[in-house]
Symmetry: C2
Subunit: 197 residues, 2 copies
């Protein structure tokens, strides 16, 4: 159709989450129309990111520095740690801009089905922090999935030996959400989590 | 959130068709997790495509050779030319595998609103082919949009001086389509294009 270079580009693009074969072709065409202004810059951005970005040894975030910008920011509260599953979750919370403490990125959740066990969780730095620093609160911000809840309970038990406040994020109706379209689980959680109006 | 390299990568990815800010972040994260096995190969594929891929001077297709693989394929019928708007349309027809002739990629359609006029259409190679080779049929495979139909009529007039059969692709109900969800225009076209069962 368009030579091996185009086929290879489409094949790599189609493996990105959110892109299928059809949208990968559209993306490839859009890039091919502007090789100098769009294609080369993207190639360079990918190469630079592959070179520069590393995993923060303290929290598991991705950044061009280790420790990451959050862990090394003196203005963040250092005695509150928010535990999240993925770097994507961390980014989402940072966009919300409400949390000013530190993070611990687990890199996944306990999942018997996919063979992701306790040893695969990135939690050693969290325990190291608990041993060496004064931690006031640990917020478990895990997804409301079966594996997320399993991991939450497992972590809760693991954290008991330390005299630290353990909280979990609230569950209920998402902002802008209409009750009509929500699933029964969310509605149940929202009713249980009701509070004075 | 994750350093300037990540921000830049997300910003470039989010400009691809089919990707918004949210899916660009997901794509960037997926790539960052596998810098060597996914990120670098994509960077290299983009760089290679930017270097190798050119526009075919005969038909307007994109390929690593000029003339493109279709124009230089001796097994294609050289006396039937299918006129399409974009390279994406050409690829779609090639996937269907039904057309065995040559193409002419216009690069767009006449659009008074966006200022795309007759001089912007890539049609000179088509007239050159009409002058120098024996052409039996020209198939106008343009989109069923206002601009597509305008371009079709304009081309039809332009092609009159040559003694060549001019056809246009059929209109009607798409394969697998249910009448219930189709718009009135398509239903009208399908009724007009009816034929013995």
């Amino acid at each position: 159709m368009g030579g091996p270079e185009i086929e290879r580009l489409i094949s790599l693009l189609s493996k990105l989450p959110g892109l299928g074969p059809r949208s990968a072709r559209r993306a490839a065409l859009a890039l091919l129309r502007q090789p100098e202004s769009r294609m080369r810059p993207l190639a360079q951005a990918l190469e630079q990111a592959a070179q520069q970005v590393k995993t923060c040894s303290q929290c598991g975030n991705l950044d061009s520095t280790d420790p990451c910008a959050i862990c090394s920011d003196p203005s963040r509260e250092r005695d509150v740690i928010c535990v999240v599953e993925t770097v994507g979750d961390l980014w989402a919370l940072e966009r919300a801009g409400i949390f000013k403490g530190l993070y611990q990125v687990l890199g996944g959740v306990l999942s018997p089905l996919s063979g992701f066990g306790p040893d695969d969780l990135n939690i050693a730095p969290l325990f190291h922090r608990l041993e060496t620093q004064e931690i006031r609160e640990i917020i478990l911000a895990l997804g409301a999935t079966v594996d997320g809840v399993t991991t939450l309970h497992w972590l809760y038990e693991k954290l008991q030996p330390w005299n630290v406040k353990i909280t979990r994020v609230g569950q209920g109706i998402p902002m802008g959400g209409s009750l009509e379209v929500l699933d029964e689980g969310t509605l149940t959680a929202a009713l249980i989590a009701r509070r004075p109006a």
